[in-house]
Amino acid sequence: MLRLEGLRLSQGSFGLDADVAFPAGGVTALMGASGSGKSTLLAAIAGFLDPAAGRIVIEGADVTDLAPGDRPLSVLFQDQNLFPHLTVAENVGLGLRPDLRLSDDQRAARDRAIARVGLDGMADRLPRDLSGGQQSRAALARALLRGRPWLLLDEPFSALGPALRTEMLALLQETARDENLSVLMVTHAPEDARAVADRTALVADGALSAPVDTATLFADPPPALRAYLG
């Protein structure tokens, strides 16, 4: 369970209130128009933005004051998920030990994670020698390896073409289920939410609404969603 208790974010004239609980397991989509503050909300949960008020509680523990790397979660950004001067193996290995001093067991675990996302034989390549989809897979492998219970994604795979994006979303859904990860995914694309999200929460008019079963939500859209879908 990831709970936002009386959370208030403010940046200049922008403000967002959230008092919502996300159940563990499965994929939850955070949907809203651009500028609605969904990425800001994700940044606050990940620890890059201090809230003006309220608490962030994950699995019963208050994480509001923890550094980003100490929170029980991993993040995939829109881009810049890999260090360009480190190989795939090193980039993934950072998920186990940020100083990369890996034991033999850890090396084996790293190689399993690389294989799990279908990057066998590419461990020694630099990111610039990978395709966009392969780069996303490497970042996903690292998130799996870290083994944190929550995975946050900000407009994931948005730089990929439609076919690749669908493929990556499917891989994400499948691995999250296998590894028992709870996924929170920011997206502006309704088709992404419908494709993989068990639940969807709307960010609109400076507030976050509670997550609702995605199918139910789209079957009978509330006014805010209707306005967004057009």
Binding site: G69, S74, V75, F77, Q80, F83, L94
Partner: protein
């Protein structure tokens, strides 16, 4: 953690600046301790700096204009040549100027053919000549930046309206010059007010002694510590006044990135203008190259005659250069980390403050501080390294902070989300990603430190000198051939260290 280290480094730097200055202020007792000649030194410092800066800028304008509007094979080499004096050891350049303009130099021989009495390089004219040698290239590069910043669209518009070269000058170039030249003048003025090695080698005596040189003389010849401190306070006041003045002017920044393009021009195709530009560039090249060639070629012929003391000095200089580079990098890297964090502006300010510090004042202060504890002469080499690091840090920070800012913007969140902080971050991200600016900073520090003739002259005993000091002593005893051989070794070491670090940095980054 790294940023906290950076804050500590900034505090240490502030202390390293303030403690010696405090010691100088404490030992300086009332202006009545000054002799008339000391006020003469202040006057000379001011007017020679003003004349040097004015001449440097005036001579730089035609060269910069020629480089801005001409493309020709070898243009890159000319730009490189204009950058070289910055890392050229001062004493080597002085030796070269003596070879050209000295009593037996090329210039006086030519004057002799014309039946004109030889002109001496020793005195105020030599000091100014050397300052122009060092600062005309700097001014050229900075003014060239302004020229290349003229929008191409506006030059195209000027061409469409049929502007002549004179029209372009009045409408576009003159306003640009008026905006940037005062700042450049001030920077060079500042550099010339802290001149020591040039004045030591070519000046001296009434009418050609700078305040820095007067500190050295009070110290070394009269061993009058309180008068040295008084003169230090005078130099300090001079620096503070200049720094206050500089806050009101936009100072030029950077080392001249992106000078390798020439703006297309349509107004300068006439034969007369071509001749004028060719002449400006050729004269500048001869002025910069001839002294160097005379020293280095003759030095190569006599390098086997180098006395043992010169090789020992070379070894000392090499060790000091490497120590300075390592310490500067070790301080600048965490300071740059701290500077790009929230509230890091103070760190940046401390880092740039030390640019106004004068090596001789710092040296005097350190001497006063060390005297009760130990024999300062034994500490000559560590003290010199210390002062070199302080003087090199502003340049290192200027290279590192913008790169660090970009790195933070690109990968700061990723690193934070992985808990990649502190030394692991330095090792895995900062050093590999900042190879170029780091290599540049280390190379610059090593070159400046190897060629430095400042505090070392204040402290060292003759038998424990660095290579620049040995070179100065050889020059002083008119052993010119050996001096030139020592100059060759020194140039190879300074430029070699710069080149090695620079290349190393590029290699790490790719």
């Amino acid at each position: 953690m790294g940023a906290r280290l950076g804050l500590a480094a900034a505090l240490a730097l502030a202390a390293a600046l303030l403690l010696p200055l405090g010691a100088v202020a404490w030992r300086a007792e009332g202006w009545s301790g000054l002799r008339p000649s000391d006020w003469g030194a202040l006057w000379f410092t001011l007017w020679q700096a003003a004349v040097s800066a004015a001449l440097s800028v005036l001579l730089a304008v035609p060269v910069a204009r020629a480089l801005a509007r001409r493309r020709f094979p070898g243009r890159g080499a000319v730009l490189l040549l204009l950058g070289a004096p910055f890392i050229l050891p001062v004493i080597v350049a002085v030796l070269g100027l003596v070879a050209v303009f000295g009593r037996a130099g090329v210039a006086n021989v030519a004057l002799g053919w014309l039946g004109i009495e030889p002109v001496s390089i020793y005195g105020w004219q030599g000091v100014i000549l050397a300052h122009v040698f060092f600062n005309m290239p700097l001014a050229t590069r900075l003014i060239l930046q302004g020229w290349l910043a003229l929008p191409g669209e506006r030059l195209r518009l000027a061409a469409a309206l049929g502007f002549t070269a004179a029209d372009t000058f009045r409408r576009l170039e003159w306003p640009m010059l008026r905006a940037i030249v005062p700042g450049i003048f001030l920077v060079i003025f500042l550099i010339c007010t802290t001149s020591f090695a040039v004045a030591l080698a070519l000046g001296g005596g009434p009418g050609a002694t700078t305040v820095e040189l007067a500190i050295y003389q009070a110290f070394r010849f009269d061993f009058d510590l309180s008068r040295a401190a008084l003169l230090g306070a005078m130099q300090l006041a001079l620096g503070a006044a200049a720094a206050a003045l500089s806050l009101r002017l936009a100072l030029p920044s950077g080392f001249g990135a992106g000078l390798d393009r020439a703006v297309p021009r349509w107004d300068s195709r006439g034969v007369g203008l071509r001749l004028q530009d060719t002449l400006a560039i050729a004269l500048a090249c001869v002025f910069l190259l001839l002294p160097m060639l005379l020293v280095l070629v003759e030095g190569a012929l006599h390098v086997t005659a180098l006395p043992r003391v010169a090789w020992e000095g070379a070894l000392r200089s090499l060790v000091m250069a490497l120590a300075s580079a390592a310490l500067t990098a070790g301080m600048a890297l965490p300071m740059a980390m701290a500077a790009v964090r929230r509230g890091g502006g103070a760190v940046e300010t401390v880092g740039t403050l030390s640019i106004a510090a004068s090596p001789l004042v710092l040296g005097t202060g350190l001497f006063i501080l060390l005297l009760p504890v130990t024999n300062p002469v034994d500490m000559a080499l560590p003290v010199t390294v210390f002062v070199n690091v302080i003087l090199a840090l502003p340049f290192a920070l200027r290279a590192l902070i913008p790169a660090m800012r970009t790195l933070q913007a690109d990968y700061g969140r990723l690193a934070a989300s992985l808990g990649l902080v502190g030394f692991a971050w330095l090792r895995l991200v900062a050093v590999p990603r900042l190879g170029r600016p780091l290599g540049f900073a280390c190379g610059l520090t090593a070159a400046l430190s190897a060629g430095d003739l400042g505090v070392i002259a204040l402290f060292a005993s003759p038998d424990r000198g660095t290579l620049p000091l040995v070179l100065y002593q050889l020059m002083g005893s008119y052993r010119m051939e050996e001096a030139k051989a020592a100059a060759l070794v020194l140039v190879l070491m300074s430029l070699g260290l710069f080149w090695l670090f620079e290349r190393g940095g590029r290699h790490v980054e790719t």
